[in-house]
Symmetry: C2
Subunit: 159 residues, 2 copies
């Protein structure tokens, strides 16, 4: 894999990740909306940050989400600020197009491109630039489930 002198990870037969140290490109990048920051986000970012020296997060803008018919509870600038407050995140950049990933990988000298396993296989074509992995999501925790839970709660019962 060009750009990565040291293999970063292997998927074991049982699906467990065996991760080796990142070599000359200790920067990791991931992308997402990170709406309603929850423990699944925090755990994913913690595990990613442990794989290298610097974790860059591409945070989907409201305009980019709108183009996908996706509406968030939290506006972009607040989602960015929350990501910036996360100790596992080194830098937040806007994600505003599908095709920026190749440019970002080159620009930030990324050694590892990582996404949640709900995207498994979708970004394999980037592995001519760097390693690509998909990490398992925290079970039973997602923004969608959280929104559904809140919608089932009565406002006057919560605070």
């Amino acid at each position: 894999m060009a750009g990565c002198e040291t293999p970063v990870c292997h998927i074991s037969e049982r699906g467990g990740l065996i991760v080796q140290t990142l070599g000359d490109n200790p920067t990791i990048i991931t992308y997402g909306t990170f709406d309603l920051f929850h423990v699944g986000h925090a755990r994913l970012l913690r595990r990613l940050s442990a794989l290298g020296k610097r974790l860059i997060v591409g945070c989907s803008t409201d305009e980019f989400n709108a183009g996908k018919g996706k509406r968030t509870a939290i506006p972009y600038h607040h989602r960015v600020e929350i990501l910036q407050s996360c100790r596992y995140v080194s830098k937040v950049i806007p994600e505003n197009s599908w095709d920026q990933k190749r440019r970002d990988i080159v620009k930030y000298k990324v050694g590892l491109f990582a996404m949640g396993s709900d995207w498994a296989g979708k970004f394999d074509e980037l592995n001519d630039l760097c390693d690509v992995i998909y990490l398992p999501r925290t079970q039973d925790v997602s923004t969608t489930e959280l929104k559904e839970l809140i919608q089932r709660m009565r406002v006057d019962k919560v605070a």
Copy 2:
């Protein structure tokens, strides 16, 4: 104020905070539920952490909240994990009683007890142990408003 050799802050006539450096007790403590971690939480914690060297957060347990008739969207252990992922927070402890604050202040050698301004005046009696301040909340951002917003959203319109 016993326990704090250096005055920590003064409230100016216009309500603006003029904060001096914390002296011998550079530890700050605050308490809260921190349900649905949002930008108001992140900003409050950032501002508090800037006032000293160590910020301790007492996170209300589910049992403590239940006793107040308060139900959260996010369970206690997840709220703790999210607070621990916040770069402005040094330590998270459980808040499970009203009367633990005096003990915590002594135990952790706290120099500054700080709460959001919605609690203004409610903890002034602690100022025999340390300084007490109330910081303004971020306008238009609260867990309750967030829940109401999500409840107005249709699940099938969000992701």
